[in-house]
Amino acid sequence: LLLADPEVKPIGLGARDSLRLEAGLCLYGHDIDETTSPVEADLVWSIGKKRRTAGGFIGEKRVLAEIASGPKRKRVGIKPEGRAPAREGTVITDDSGKQIGIVTSGGFGPTVNGPVAMGYVEAAYAAPGTKLSLIVRDKSLPATVAPLPFAPHHYKR
């Protein structure tokens, strides 16, 4: 029925994945899992306002402490400078080569017409504009911390 509309075409997981990555949305098991906190993942909006101060939920100890004094690592958008995509598992280093994080989702963003990624970095490296290096096939590629989303949202939350 939908496919009878000339503007509707079937898509697969690749399209779904590039779209949600450009929109800055987490994929569970990749960008968030049982080790990440909502504060690290920049998802504090998902915790009710009262609970953010009063607690009263599983994991409140860690979450409240991270809200108060900041998390150790943060989920950020990452824009590789060249054309080479950096995929999940790519090691992120500072300019001295020290590992400071890891890419949790990465690929090619058709809307921005270039590679895009997201991942976790130590909090000191989380500000947009911070220079990072991505280790892709043993080569260090320059990248920058980028604000999320990469492409403007067209949906209501």
Partner: protein, 123 residues
């Protein structure tokens, strides 16, 4: 020389002792939109079956294996600025590299077009 093919979906043609290597149209179709190609450095020694280049599509990164051993003498710079050329013209304009052959005998166990088509039909 007529074009020859590998089971890893590379093609190769020979002019004197210089072989031109690319990926097949079937490979291109399977990859989907190609967004990045990493080519070897000129002068790099490649060995038959070894990794020679990387092609990345929206879906995944894939290795391109050298169908023969030799030394890379030229790479197709057009692919850096226009990786989608691989989708449009995989078996001609979007060649990846030219390799100076070490051993022409290595070509013997590659497939001709008919054998490759038969192989594709089994996939």
């Amino acid at each position: 020389m007529t074009k020859r093919y590998t089971k890893d979906h590379e093609w190769i043609t020979l002019d004197g002792e210089i072989a031109t290597i690319g990926i097949t149209n079937h490979a291109q179709e399977q990859l989907g939109d190609v967004v990045f190609v990493e080519l070897p450095k000129i002068g790099k020694a490649v060995s038959k079956g070894g990794e020679a280049a990387v092609v990345e599509s929206v879906k995944a990164a894939s290795e391109v294996y050298a169908p023969v051993s030799g030394e890379v003498v030229e790479v197709n710079g057009d692919l850096e600025g226009d990786p989608a050329l691989v989708n449009r013209d995989a078996e001609a304009g979007a060649w990846f590299m030219k390799v100076k052959l070490k051993d022409k005998g290595e070509l013997d166990d590659l497939m001709d077009k008919a054998a490759y088509d038969t192989f594709l039909a089994t996939l």
